[in-house]
Amino acid sequence: MSLATALFLAFFGVAAIWFGVVVFRTHSMVRSAIALLFSQTAIGAMFLVMQAEFLGVLQIMMMATEMSVMAIFMVMFMMDPGGMGKMDMTHQKRLSLWAGGIGLVAALVVIWTAGWQGPAPDVPGADEQARLLGREILGRSMFIFESAALMILTAMIAATMVAIAPQEEDTQ
């Protein structure tokens, strides 16, 4: 059981990383957005493997929408969304590579030296988890949840206000 879990985790993990790399390697912007989507979907699949059903499915669902929206913004704001020009759109590449590499190595060092104590505990069943999460959201964490809702609402309004076209009377 544990081996199968580890294998699935590794499989989806590799998929997630690979798609993540494709995001910045492909020239086609739409492909880039869709690659990010599949990277996020693979992460959602990892959640499912880790028996976080609700979160996994939620991740898979939300990212489909978010990344599709991302795709249309790529098309709107990119100079060459089809990637036909093979243009290079990076800067400070060396710095970025170093930063990414150092981040990766540092995280790996911490992970592999931390010495987590096993064995892996059991988790409640999916029904129970959903019930517990519901009680958490609408009980102890209600305030946080409501704050998050308010945050989203504020962001929606703010983003719309920022993005809305200035009207004729405003500019005069």
């Binding site: 739409v30 492909r31 059903e53 609700f54 499915v57 939620l58 599709s68 795709a71 089809g82």
Partner: protein, 299 residues
């Protein structure tokens, strides 16, 4: 075992919906036409448009089919007759349907044609319009069932079907479902008079067959979901449960198709306007009402 039975039922359902669609669009009820059409499509040449995004062109229809099949997985045909009875089945259905959008964007972008591309982006543009109207009625349904499991949702309707308990939710859900399956009058991504086939315009032969099959699966899945959430699933007197599910599903599909051929195509802005201003308000009201009823009169 149950997987085989459900796949068989799905195949029959798809065929029946294809027959119904022929009746709605071409005005003739022919039992053999879907079979001949499928055979003929398989025999036709497959054309790859020039400078297409080959990967998207090929993956789009397949992803659409996969999304459809996944959404069927959580729809119960009868007690115990379900591919996977997830504790969060209703949410899973949403997640699977979200990939219909991704698949259509890919299929629209892939062939490198103006009609397909506009069709794909149109579908994205209307997405929030239907996605919210699928999720919010389901929320109300789950509130009553106190579970996201589709089986539990059916069982919760033993006393009174949700269509009577929350009729607003039913109407919103059916309309949103028609949007997801891009059925007329909301067939914005493929509208014949608008976009000459839109997303489908560049697909030929077997790829077109996959695309059409995927759409049939999605229609069946959505009709099945409507039955599960609002029409009491397998519940019904005299007949065995699976017969009830099948009959109700076909009836819902026929209703959606018949509605489509009698209404002019909605334009996108209007659809968005209706969904945002009217639909979401009604959906919130529905959630509120269901909450109040659940507290006051427990049925």
């Amino acid at each position: 075992m149950s997987i085989a039975v459900i796949i068989l039922a799905l195949a029959i359902g798809c065929y029946a919906v294809a027959v119904l669609e022929g009746w709605a669009v071409h005005g003739r009820l022919s039992l053999t036409r879907p079979a001949t059409s499928a055979l003929a499509l398989l025999g036709r040449e497959q054309i790859l448009p020039r400078t297409s995004d080959r990967l998207f062109f090929e993956v789009g229809p397949v992803l659409l089919l996969v999304a459809g099949l996944l959404s069927v997985a959580v729809i119960p045909l009868a007690p115990g007759l379900i591919i996977t009875d997830l504790a969060i089945g209703a949410l899973f259905l949403n997640a699977a349907l979200a990939y219909v959008l991704v698949a259509l964007i890919m299929a629209g972008w892939g062939p490198n044609g103006a009609y397909g591309m506009v069709g794909g982006w149109r579908f994205l543009g209307q997405f929030i319009a239907y996605a919210m109207l699928i999720v919010m009625p389901i929320t109300a349904v789950a509130m009553r069932a106190e579970s996201l499991s589709t089986t539990q949702i059916v069982l919760s309707q033993a006393a009174l079907w949700n269509i009577a308990y929350q009729p607003i939710g039913f109407v919103l859900f059916v309309i949103a479902a028609m949007g997801v399956a891009w059925l007329p009058p909301i067939d914005l991504p493929t509208g014949g008079g608008d976009l000459a086939g839109g997303v489908e315009a560049e697909y030929t032969g077997a790829r077109l067959a996959v695309l059409r099959l995927a759409r049939l699966v999605i229609i069946v899945a959505l009709a099945g979901a409507t039955v599960t959430f609002y029409l009491g699933g397998w519940l019904g007197p005299w007949l065995p449960g699976w017969v009830w599910t099948a009959l109700k599903t076909l009836a819902v599909a026929a209703g959606m198709l018949a509605l489509g051929s009698r209404l002019p195509r909605l334009r996108e802005a209007k659809y968005l306007e209706l969904s945002w201003k009217l639909g979401i308000t009604l959906a919130l009201a529905n959630i509120f009402l269901v909450g109040v009823i659940a507290l006051v009169v427990p049925i």
